[in-house]
Amino acid sequence: MRRASFRRHGSFRGGIDLPEETHRTLHAPIRPAPPLECLRISLVPGGRSPAELIVSPGSRVSAGQCIARASDETGVDIFAPCSARLGETTTCPAADRDGFVEQAVVELTELPESQQIRTLTPVFDWRAATREELLARLLQGQLVTFTRRVQPLAQWVRRAMDRRCSTLLCNGMEHEPYVTSTHSLLKYHGPEIARGLAILAGAMGIDDVSLAVDARYQDDYQDIVAPTQTYGIEGYSLPSKYPISAENVLIMVLTGREVPVNGSPMDLSVAVVDPATCFAVYRWVACDQRCTHRVVTVSGPRIDDPGNYWVPFGADCHELLGNGEQPLIHGGPMVGKRIVDRSVVNASTDALLAIDAPIPHVPTPCIRCGWCTDHCPARLNVAALNDAFELGDVAYADRAGAMACVECGLCSYVCPARLALSQRVRRLKRNLFFLRHRAAMDKGGK
């Protein structure tokens, strides 16, 4: 009998096949994190103002205990990942979309041994629950999204429902070299992810649900096939070409529709979620487990013991990576950031890498080879945008569609002149966004 599998799907124009380098962690099981000295848990995961501590410093807290309450709607409650002693409130850098931001954190010390990730027994019959019950329970969860910009899940769900999203896409593609956290989660906890996705869809009242996975590894994901069929989730297997897991590109490949230049996926009534979020949703809604850990790939050529670790939020990046001589990177090597001192793991940390330092090249003038333009998934003329950057011509960049950039870093990767093209386009985008924001403010003021 032919094995049930995912539906094959096409690709997109542009992009590139990157060297994978994932062999060291690809089939490694998810292991408990190495012993940690202390945790510095952010009090502002995606929020605006820090959550307020409800436990006095110096007292002991137990695993899953609430240690801080959100001060407004945009924040989430903070829970202790394990039993520990509560320390001082300080600040430390945590990853945000563009870099590291100093955030208020609370220290936890006297940690027990790290936990193994466990398959939990369900305590809540989510299949019998009505939509309202599911939604209410989901919103109680104080979960966050596991995307590059961490935000409260409740906020994301509300926005998606306000925009009347009719399609829910689970982005199980992973395309950056070295990174295997999503892959290992899908491989070892696939059914739970499918259930989490079904819960999310049920709570948001969405019928059209798809799960996109990497075609190369679909044999590893056989456990997911049966649950997806049970819950009416359409499974797709996509060819891996960088950057297919960028939201806009994934939507273009799967639905054939393109996200407008200044819009978001929700303008097409598509909501994109990632497997880690679905996993957290399932663990909270069905098993009553708070979201305090995530899977992090620790890898790189200089790492002796690479693997996929089940790491509590707030773990120190340097403690996980060991020595700190080579550049340490937070996230994948294409879109990640250099780790700074004292930075901690948060929901956006999919990988911590120690890779060889790229040889510092002096950028030479653009020779207009056009490779950036050939490979750009958004079909931008990056050479022209580079001219716009050098001339400071933001208006031209706007007309050339700079806002469509998906920030995948491919242009910098292929550039033979070693120009920081992706960084330059990113700055143009930020400038444009700022100018537009200010114009809107001026208009509102009058």
């Binding site: 870099g99 931001v101 935000q151 033979p416 992706s422 966004f433």
Partner: protein, 411 residues
């Protein structure tokens, strides 16, 4: 993954604390190709046509190429020393420019011609624009144009030398004897003391077809129809197609051997330094213009006959042969594959390159047919190089998520 826009929920630092952004940017991996590799590999590839030139035109070809490369490198060095600006990747590109310039020159020119050409190529063609990455015209062709204007007697003749078959490589290309036809090249040997012949350039023979005042031919090929005609056919005055492919004919020393130019071009396409769109559209446009432009023939009664669509006049086979002569003569392949594809002076996008190629090929053919411009193909490339910024500004690929109309908004 990326969010499309950041809305008002951006994480802000603690109230009162000064935001400290640590911006050290990604990606942390790079593709292995650098600018220097690009120029070095292109240089090595362009040595292939030079090898053909060396074989067919003898050791003087190597001398011309060496002078041209050396003086390009030295002029570049001197220029940046005088203006005290850092020449970033100048040297590898100067090597390439010198080689390309050598390829466009005939092998029998005196030593000062490549020297002057290199000086013009480097200063006027490249350095005053700001060096690599900034120039408008292909520098090698700027040098070629300059010497064509300065030394017209040496470079604009209708005839050119070619070595005899027993003098290949070792012969001196300037010891040549005048002979009219090249059809019997393998059978003929020059008298003692001579190393080769002076023969008519194929593109000059082809140009005679378009002379409406005094037509020289009564047809393109007309094989075996037994009719008496007042004039010979065109092909009787041209070398055979095989010899056109091997490059046994006078011309720029790197522009005659079609086979090696094609090999070099295909390798550059394989390396993705050249997209196939540009050379193919260049050749396509040239072929289309050659196929439809009217030729003038002598009829049976001796009167001039004007024939439109020469491609179809004597049948498809003869038409194709006619096109092959047009496409392989006069440095057309050299221009299409190696000169027009110079990265800086071509448009960036695929569509732009197609437009560029179509314009260039058509203009090259029009210049050859309608004017007396000395090297029409090279001049056409220079002319369309001028349009490159315009093409780049007008032709924009449709950006993801943009409407079909947005790309036509002029910048």
């Amino acid at each position: 993954m990326s969010e499309a826009t950041s809305t008002g929920t951006q994480a802000r630092p603690l109230a009162g604390a000064r935001p400290r952004f640590h911006l050290i940017f990604s990606p942390f991996l790079y593709a292995p190709e650098s600018v220097r590799t690009v120029f070095t590999v292109t240089f090595a590839t362009c040595c292939l046509p030079l090898v053909a030139g060396l074989v067919l035109f003898g050791w003087r070809a190597a001398v011309v190429a060496a002078i041209s490369i050396a003086s390009c490198v030295l002029t570049e060095k001197l220029f940046f020393k005088v203006v005290r600006a850092p020449a970033l990747v100048g040297r590898s590109h100067a090597w390439l420019t010198g080689l390309l310039l050598g390829l466009t020159l005939p092998a029998d020119v005196p030593w000062y011609v490549p020297l002057v050409a290199a000086a013009f190529a480097t200063t006027l063609g490249k350095a005053i624009f700001g060096g690599v990455g900034h120039f408008l015209w292909q520098p090698a062709l700027v040098g070629r144009l300059a010497v064509t204007v300065i030394f017209p007697a040496l470079l604009t003749g209708a005839d050119g030398p070619i070595l005899a078959r027993n003098q290949l490589v070792r012969g001196d290309i300037r010891q040549v004897q005048a002979v009219q036809r090249l059809r019997d090249w393998p059978d003929q040997l020059p008298p003692a003391g001579y190393d080769g012949f002076v023969v008519e350039k194929p593109q000059q023979t082809l140009r005679l077809l378009y002379d409406s005042q005094r037509p020289r031919f009564s047809g393109i090929a007309y094989v075996g129809d037994g009719l008496e005609r007042p004039e010979p056919p065109l092909l009787s005055r041209l070398p055979s197609v095989r010899r056109m492919m091997y490059g046994v004919r006078p011309g720029p020393m790197g522009g005659t051997c079609a086979v090696l130019i094609l090999v070099a071009g295909v390798y550059l396409m394989y390396r993705n330094y050249v997209k196939p769109h540009l050379p193919l559209s260049f050749l396509l446009a040239a072929a289309v213009v050659a196929a439809i432009a009217p030729i003038h023939l002598v009829g049976h009664d001796g009167a001039t006959r004007t024939v439109w669509y020469p491609f179809l006049y004597e049948g498809l086979a003869e038409g194709c042969v006619f096109l092959i002569y047009h496409l392989t003569s006069g440095g057309m392949l050299l221009a299409a594959f190696l000169l027009a594809t110079e990265m800086t002076s071509r448009p960036v996008t695929r569509g732009g390159q197609v437009i560029f190629g179509l314009l260039g090929g058509a203009l090259a053919m029009v210049l050859r047919i309608c004017t007396r411009v000395p090297v029409p193909v090279f001049m056409a490339v220079l002319a369309v190089n001028t349009l490159t910024p315009l093409i780049d500004a007008l032709w924009r690929p449709r950006v993801m998520g943009q409407s079909w109309l947005a790309r036509f908004r002029l910048g």
